[in-house]
């Protein structure tokens, strides 16, 4: 196992280098010039040339890449063209907001979808299955932006229950400790801040979680249905094990592999920031950062952000694989 872990960790280095090279080439090849996009409408050709020289864009791509790579190995991802801040600091500032939102929406999705999916899968074609499937399919076919705006219109507009955007109300949270508002509020015992944080995160988390809930519910259902017909389930039942025990001990455990896979995938997507939901709710996370970096062709920021995401995926995939082995001892990677 240890050898396997070492191999996995070592194996990520080429992935990181490869992706940095790919991103570097792609952003440079994409049409649009950061100097045109970031300077004022009234900038002259001279101003543009100055900016390009300052950003190192006047040098050949391979020189730029080499500079980037050597700096990156020393932990420096460069300086954003647009914000003039170190890329690493910027990502570190934005990432907690994104992680917080991702975690809350995953929790919402899992808590609703898994029990519903297990129930539906255990009783296919029952009313709970049909209702659950309908809800799941709604979740799947609901565009994020539409649902987000509907939430704002209903929860903030008609019911006037929740704040329509942002992450907190000015003046309540106080200075950050970890950068995760909910966690910070708990640490500080700032209950008003905790409520404020929860009220702000509720709608974006639901908007993000609903889609995932739909797919997770369907995956759980199909996976449970499949396992229900396995011989060991029949055997357990024949041995007189109670229906509930059969369901939760034998069936769910064996149905977990696809569920864990999907949660891992979705977590990865969410960490890369849901651009639409972050924009709709003015959530100051990394998705917004990335979209503004792409639309203004802020090369260092794009590269840095994508590299961060790659690391996140590598870690998530690794965790998922470990979980596989824990769930199903028959699964082995080290051979």
């Amino acid at each position: 196992m240890l050898a396997y872990v070492i191999r996995r960790v070592a194996g990520t280095i080429p992935v990181i280098i490869l992706i940095s090279l790919l991103v570097f080439m792609l952003v440079q090849a994409a049409p649009g010039d950061p100097a045109d996009l970031l300077l004022s409408d009234e900038a002259t050709a001279e101003d543009v040339a100055d900016a390009r020289a300052r950003w190192g864009l006047d040098q050949p791509v391979w020189v730029q890449y080499w500079k980037f790579l050597t700096a990156a190995l020393q932990g420096d991802l460069g300086t954003s063209f647009r914000y003039a801040d170190p890329v690493l600091t910027m990502i570190a500032e934005r990432l907690p907001a994104t992680i917080e939102l991702a975690v809350v929406s995953i929790i919402i999705a899992v808590v609703i979808a898994v029990p519903l999916g297990v129930w539906a899968g255990a009783r296919p074609n029952s009313w709970i299955d049909n209702l659950g499937s309908l809800v799941g399919l709604f979740g799947i076919s609901m565009p994020n932006f539409w649902f987000g705006i509907m939430l704002i219109l209903v929860m903030s507009g008609i019911l006037n229950l929740l704040p329509s955007s942002g992450r907190d109300t000015y003046g309540i949270a106080g200075d950050p400790i970890t950068g995760f508002y909910l966690l910070d509020s708990v640490i500080k015992g700032n209950w008003r801040g905790l409520w404020d944080g929860l009220a702000h995160i509720a709608m974006p988390a639901i908007a993000l979680g609903t889609n995932m809930m739909g797919i997770l519910m369907r995956v759980t259902r199909s996976s449970v249905m499949e396992v229900m017909h396995e011989e060991y389930v029949t055997t357990a039942r024949a041995k007189g094990v109670s229906e509930r025990a059969v369901l939760w001990h034998h069936v769910v455990r064996n149905a977990l592999v696809p569920i864990v896979t999907v949660v891992g995938l979705e977590l990865g997507t969410l960490l890369s920031g849901s651009i639409i939901v972050e924009t709709v709710f003015s959530w100051p996370g990394s998705g917004q950062l990335l979209i503004s970096a792409i639309t203004s062709r802020d090369y260092p920021l794009i590269t840095g952000t994508v590299l961060t995401y790659t690391m996140a995926f590598v870690i998530i995939n690794f965790t998922v694989d470990i979980l596989y082995a824990a769930i199903d001892p028959r699964i082995r990677f080290d051979k």
Partner: protein, 516 residues
């Protein structure tokens, strides 16, 4: 698609209700409290702590009230007014020399240091030299800045520059020379954003909000102005409107025309409108076939039914342009503009296309999506109008960065776009229509060049306006662009406050009155 039933799950809803009850603070943020707060829902974010680090209109307004700037354009008076500068004049013998007299006794936030000429000299030099500035072009014509005494600054330009105030006012933020010297550029902006404006910076969360607090003893700050002014970035129009009606924010920037009735009908907020200073136009680049044909360009201008589009697609919330500029912009002359008017006349347009021998020509109209009010809808409506005069038009909606890069290089033959911040049209027109101005349209017309060059060197306002109008007429005649309209910018304003929006899009705390 109905709302998913899970959302209304009773457990969740109860939690929210408790949440809100516990908070009890979304309402009544304005009056009645010890500290009055006004929040403004805006669409764009400031992206940098550097006061010259952005080139967005809202940013100028925010920094201007924090650091302070020399002056601004007062749209009500139709003239420039001083802020940190008390008065200014041009040397009669040498039109390259401008003298600015500063207000005396201005105290800086936090440490009370007085504003001096040295700070102004430093700020203008900084704008030219700081690598992070995006405002360098505004001081390009400035060759020298000198402090004549503690309160007097001399600015020297390389050639007579009548529109100099347009470059300096609102754009040059006056930052402290001593702070910069002591803490360095980076820390001065981030940790010591102290200025001489009526509000000081409390918090800047890029992409979420900017919080300003009133400087109570500032000479411009009045007790009825909000104590705290918050700019909240809210990109969705529905969200700004909802937040306004909930009293989460008190001013909603850029309300789309079709949402205006919701605000008007609510009773607790009203719509205030102002004409934007952004010119919307259809550009036709003569460097590209078939747009080298003047008749075709003129035909297109006759083909577009501006009034119908304004009425149906823009819900009446735009002002038609008959020349390059409209009322309130520098040099506008209603009589002269009347002669430039190109009426909607599809029959004449069809004849022009036929005469040019271009019937059946395929043309592609490029438009950004979501950058200007209803941009895609507007251009969609133009397509049948272009087809009606014998062209075969299609619409293309490229990604903004790609489109803008191509426009900058002069590679887009036919596009719908806007030019913002046009108060004095001199710079914008030269940029788009003068030979060598920029490749965006790439027309080269001696008549246009002649008038544009001439107007820049005339200091007498009346004579300059005359010359400007000759330039306008020449541009309309050559038709490298059809001028469409200026959007009417709609602001939702809560009835708990008084605020009149300005065409520049800037929101100054000292212009807001919180009612009791």
């Amino acid at each position: 698609m109905v709302m998913s039933p899970t959302i209304g799950a009773p457990g969740l809803r109860r939690t929210f209700a408790v949440t809100v009850a516990a908070l009890g603070m979304f309402a009544a943020v304005t009056s009645g409290h010890a500290q009055s707060r006004v929040a403004v829902g805006v669409t764009e974010t400031i992206s940098s702590h550097n006061p010259h680090g952005d080139s967005i209109s809202m940013g100028y307004g925010i920094w201007c009230q924090v650091y302070g700037c020399l002056g601004t354009y007062d749209f009500e008076k139709g003239d420039y007014v001083g802020m940190l500068a008390e008065r200014w004049e041009v040397n009669k013998d040498n039109p390259n020399e401008w003298i600015f007299h500063l207000r005396k006794g201005m105290k800086r936030h936090n440490d009370g240091k007085e504003l001096t000429a040295e700070d102004v000299v430093h700020s203008i030099n900084r704008m030219a030299k700081d690598p992070q500035t995006r405002q360098k072009q505004n001081v390009r014509n400035v060759t020298d800045v000198v402090a004549l005494d503690k309160y007097t600054v001399k600015v020297v330009t390389d050639k007579p520059t009548a529109p100099l105030l347009e470059y300096l006012f609102d754009r040059v933020m006056i930052t402290g020379k001593d702070l910069w010297a002591k803490h360095g550029a980076r820390d001065a902006d981030r940790k010591y954003p102290w200025g001489w404006g009526p509000y000081k910076l409390k918090e800047l969360v890029i992409g979420q909000r900017i919080v300003l607090e009133k400087v109570k003893d500032h000479p411009d700050a009045k007790p009825q102005n909000p104590d705290v002014l918050i700019f909240r970035i809210m990109r969705e129009p529905e969200q700004r409107v909802t937040a306004l009606l909930n009293n989460e924010i008190q001013i909603a920037q850029f309300v789309p025309p079709h949402l205006a009735p919701r605000i008007e009908g609510s009773g607790n907020a009203a719509i205030k409108s102002t004409n934007s200073v952004e010119l919307m136009f259809l550009a036709m680049s003569p460097k590209n076939k078939p747009w080298d044909n003047k008749q075709l360009r003129q035909a297109v201008c006759h083909a577009i039914n501006k009034d119908a589009i304004i009425k149906a697609v823009l819900q009446g919330q735009a002002q038609r342009l008959d020349g390059p500029i409209g009322p309130g912009q520098y040099g506008y002359d209603p009589e002269a503009t009347e002669t430039m008017k190109i009426p909607y006349d599809p029959e004449k347009a069809r004849q022009l296309v036929k005469q040019a021998g271009l019937s059946g020509t395929e043309v592609t109209l490029y438009t950004p999506v979501g950058r200007y009010v209803n941009d895609k809808q507007v251009t969609e409506a133009m397509i049948p109008m272009l087809n009606a005069i014998g062209l075969k038009a299609t619409l293309a909606t490229p990604e903004w960065a790609t489109l803008w890069a191509d426009v900058q290089k002069g590679k887009v033959p036919f596009y719908y776009m806007g030019r913002g911040s046009v108060v004095d049209p001199s710079v914008a027109l030269s940029q788009y229509f003068e030979t060598g101005g920029s490749p965006r349209i790439g027309i080269s017309d001696p008549e246009i060049d002649k008038h544009l060059r001439a107007e820049r060197e005339i200091f007498d306002p009346e004579a300059r306006k005359k010359e400007l109008n000759k330039a306008f007429a020449a541009i309309v005649e050559a038709a490298p662009a059809c001028f469409m309209w200026r959007h009417r910018l709609l602001y939702g304003v809560s009835k708990k406050i008084e605020h009149t929006p300005t065409p520049s899009g800037r929101v100054f705390g000292v212009d807001i009155v919180v009612k009791n």
